[in-house]
Symmetry: C2
Subunit: 462 residues, 2 copies
């Protein structure tokens, strides 16, 4: 019996018939939700229903030196779910239960395949908030969000996914199940092992269940949209609002003039003139709708008097609030402005962003095939996204753009990936952000956990 | 030349004369600030001034199979700084610089030996807050606080030390320097290595520098003190206040009736009668002193009307605020009530605390040598401290008490150590909290980082 055949036989003994997809059933799937026209290449797709089944599959793969690619909601932005024809896919989609909501301890226990938005909604029914809020939440599975330490629009106040994970269950590359489904916020009982699995992109283990920390749902949401002319004043405004909206400031998103123009030139509303250098979306969430609105309004007026901002509007209705935030959220518009587009997700110290982004823009403008340059992002977190449009798709141009955007990172101790991870696509640039000693230590860890390199190979290190 | 002599020769070639303490200079020191009458036992005390010196010392120790115990502020509560006469002490006390405060990025960069309170004060001068707030902050060094992931009184709102560490520099047991002094909140560029060093009690590396995240300093601090009769209402009050003081609730500390009586029977003030089952200290921090006070007062009155609380008082002046919090903070009083005392620091899901603590108390009351039982703690974090007084210091009685307090942990997925760590003292009970698979993985990690087991040996695993 060939190796492949004997692997399939083994899988058949672990899984029921409808839990193992072969041949045409494999080809009917895909490896990314944006690439539904490209048929999935893989030996088979295993659909475990229990942690024990995940463990047995991994043990079998270990015996056969079989590489595994883990699939979740297929929304990964760095190639994390790309699959080769000699690899086995384990998809967690059948492990999608929301197992328990504990309103008193404010926790929710879920299987890895549960859709993030379903978890948010289940919490909301109990007046609780899971503060994860990112674009792909309607498709992304929580196991993936934990594995990549997803960020999003509320990191500034509530932290990244890492801060929400209290307990974890994970299957190691040798099949060992590490189960620590704790509901507790504080646990200094030795090494905090869960931290190793959060953000390591499934290379050290497969997350099968998690306990997430929830918050009491805020009762108010107020928003303002303001225009500024200097980056220094963006920082001044952030400091002023943090200091005066203590604890309730939940969003502070920046877009540059060129991005604002592009977002509003077609159908979207245009709340302020397009002659300012910077625009900031502000959100506060609290417990007193009227008072919170008035407090934000008062401080926007004060910022105007103090010449921190040039102009500003409050979102007076929930419709207005939605329309204003659409200018920040509908970034797909920016990707459509050129033939090809390239996305970035860099981190920098907040104090350095103004100058560094200006200098990147200047350099990009000199690149012949660059047609559009749109910076925007979570400035309070130090995280700026870039969507760069070009009319040429050659590796040469792609590398040239990468080099320009990544070149200031080392000097300012920034990161080439604030949120999206490294995956396959950014591996070649890891040294812009991490030292040789760090990369060597990552490699040692990967080798210790997965000596045969069977789990999500090629991601991050090797 | 004997091994010891050749080690000392090597140390002399790395360090200046006043950086290496030998013989009587060693004996003039101690291993814990509470044990100043017990002379330090150690081969020598090395006082490096630079990260490079730390690295060279470790490389030398590696060559000589020399065990190292790391000293900081000597406030560790689980024996972390206890030293044997054949061990070398590395104390970080000369590496105590506050290197940079970046007001725009809201970060502070410090060497490991800087005293926590000095860092807090340096931040305060720039109107910034380092939200670390624990009893030993006047002596504890930040390297130790990071190594044990210190908690304290503001974890509920601001997180433990882990959440404040943005960047870290650490020397591995083989002398490799891992330097990642980043000021950025978001960094998903591969494995988040700093998480491995935070809370691992110096067993995987010596922290030499850190970058900490600061907050804008709140402008108001309001407090109330309330009495309740059921644990369910403690949870109801917490939920009610979280929901209605969204973002500004910063403290919610519980003491039981027996603890309140003991704290107030002598000199301290007694703001409420001692006939209630539970007492809660509430703190909110915001940006509008008057409005924040009124909002807290209003919701205390509402809680009274809703029969959640039985009675309550506001702290009307800062003196009253201080006096009320003294009842929570002066817990040394509790330790003085019996001949010997035993301290606990357990975590449980918030929903389980009432019943579990009652059941522990009932069992402890049946133990002949137990004289006093005082539970109190950070209930919003699920973290309860116990100070248990006894008239017998035998291992039998100590073990009996340990067994009673730790026995419910497994069932409810709690932790034997919420804040203090494992060190030497709690190692024997690690299995109450962590599975065999977890402990095995910790051992593998320790072996990978420190194959000769020279760095802080005996702590956590082996």
């Amino acid at each position: 019996m060939m190796n492949g055949e004997s692997l399939i036989e083994g899988l058949k003994s672990i899984l029921k018939k409808n839990q193992l997809l072969l041949k045409s059933d494999v080809l009917s799937r895909f490896s990314h939700i944006w690439k539904t026209d490209q048929k999935l290449q893989a030996i088979a797709v295993a659909l475990p229903k229990t942690t024990k089944e995940v463990s047995e599959i991994i043990k079998l793969c270990n015996k056969h030196n079989q590489q595994i690619i883990v699939h979740g909601g297929l929304t990964n932005l760095v190639g994390g779910t790309e699959t080769k024809k000699n690899q086995l896919v384990i998809s967690l989609e059948k492990m999608n239960s929301i197992e328990e909501i504990d309103s008193k301890s404010k926790t929710i226990t879920v299987q890895a395949g549960a859709i993030v938005e379903n978890i948010i909604n289940a919490a909301e029914e109990k007046n609780l908030l899971l503060p994860l809020n990112f674009g792909a939440k309607g498709s992304a599975q929580i196991g993936g969000a934990v594995s990549v330490n997803a960020g999003g629009l509320r990191v500034f106040r509530f932290g990244m996914t890492r801060q929400m994970v209290l307990g974890i269950e994970v299957v190691l590359p040798d099949g060992t199940i590490i189960s620590s489904l704790k509901k507790i916020i504080k646990d200094n009982s030795g090494y905090d092992l869960k931290q190793l699995f959060i953000g390591s992109e499934g290379t050290l283990g497969i997350v099968t269940r998690v306990v997430l920390r929830l918050q009491e749902a805020p009762k108010s949401r107020s928003s303002a949209f303001v225009a500024l002319n200097s980056y220094d004043n963006v920082v001044n405004l952030l400091k002023y609002l943090e200091s005066n909206l203590s604890g309730s400031l939940s969003g502070f998103e920046l877009i540059w003039n060129r991005t604002y123009k592009a977002m509003t030139e077609s159908e979207l509303i245009k709340p302020l003139g397009d002659n300012y250098n910077y625009y900031v979306f502000i959100e506060s969430m609290g417990s007193e709708p009227k008072a919170d609105y008035q407090l934000l309004e008062y401080h926007i007026e004060e910022s105007l008097k103090k010449d921190i901002i040039e102009d500003g509007v409050m979102a007076k209705t929930s419709k207005e609030l939605q329309q204003i935030w659409q200018i920040r959220e509908d970034v797909a518009i920016l990707a459509s402005k050129a033939r090809y587009d390239q996305h970035f997700d860099i981190s920098l110290p907040v104090s350095k962003i103004g100058d560094v982004i200006n200098s990147i823009i200047k350099k990009l403008e000199k690149v012949k095939h660059v047609k559009t340059i749109f910076p925007f992002g979570h400035v309070a977190d130090g995280n700026i996204h870039f969507i760069i449009g070009r009319d040429d798709d050659s590796d040469l141009v792609i590398d040239q753009i990468n080099s320009i955007v990544y070149s200031p990172l080392k000097k300012f101790n920034g990161s080439l990936s604030a949120e999206h991870g490294i995956g396959l696509h950014k591996k070649g640039y890891l040294e812009t952000t991490r030292s040789k000693e760090e990369i060597k230590l990552m490699e040692k860890l990967k080798t210790m956990f997965d000596p045969k390199n069977i789990l999500n190979p090629g991601r991050i290190v090797f």
